[in-house]
Symmetry: C2
Subunit: 160 residues, 2 copies
Amino acid sequence: MSRLDSFISRMQSQRAVLNHIKDTSMVAADGVILEIGLGNGRTYDHIRELFPTNRIIAFDRAVGSHPDSTPPEADLVLGDIRETIRQFAGKDVAFAHADIGTAYPEKDAQTLTWLPQSVAAALASGGIAASGLPLDHSALEPLPLPAGGVPGRTYFYRKR
Amino acid sequence: MSRLDSFISRMQSQRAVLNHIKDTSMVAADGVILEIGLGNGRTYDHIRELFPTNRIIAFDRAVGSHPDSTPPEADLVLGDIRETIRQFAGKDVAFAHADIGTAYPEKDAQTLTWLPQSVAAALASGGIAASGLPLDHSALEPLPLPAGGVPGRTYFYRKR
Ligand SMILES: C[S@@+](CC[C@H](N)C(=O)[O-])C[C@H]1O[C@@H](n2cnc3c(N)ncnc32)[C@H](O)[C@@H]1O
Ligand code: NI
Ligand code: NI
């Protein structure tokens, strides 16, 4: 399996889980969504199409997204997510999507020291998380992956 | 269709065409391959797996590829491809893959002023080109896309 194969598989898995969250109405129409790792904005654009009534707040170090999928300024939180996400603790977020894994294991290990607890703290009880990195936290109950979700590529949880 | 949907479709189409080129033995085992636009190196990695005996020369402005899929220094050509590709005119390249489209129409229009003729000049007669941007050139005969190739996402040619 080439790195291209892995990448396509990861993107397909991500999309399958997002579409499942929509299809099964897991996110209330007025719930806040966090897009953790805006990047190019492709996934932001997909989430925006799936959840047109929800506020989607996107995080990244700096704006690197395409103009067609750059959030309004009021919904952009710039800086190191490790710091910027703290203000969302207790905010009863309905759905958090995180795509901040890299192909560098040391970087990902660093991210995993703060991401699971930050996501758990931001979510409402019953809130949903989907992530490219595992979110190992006692408050986050792993959910079975839907069809098309690939184990080890997308991780899926509900906050207890 | 979201930007994520388009992106997945483009990557799947690219892979389908690459795999077809391999499956139908369109590239001689000792032919030189050009990877025009190395980027992260994912497609380079895929081409390398498909064509293990071929020399693959990769072009980009600077090295931005993951260490796992960075070509040896002797096979890396850094700088503006518009300039660096000129030296390959007449080099009888067997296969040129170009993935240097952007989501910015003005940039792509600029690229299209030089890419088709540069690819045509580099290829041997009978050589193959696959590209994310159209290569409109009298010496490049469009080939039918294989199953999985998506019209408008991947363009496929043989040099007359
Ligand atoms: C894989 S990309 C996200 C791609 C995105 N899903 C898309 O559709 O384009 C990850 C992004 O997360 C950002 N990122 C990763 N770790 C971060 C951190 N600690 N603070 C801020 N941004 C971070 C990177 O800058 C990068 O843009
Ligand atoms: Ni491999
Ligand atoms: Ni759309």
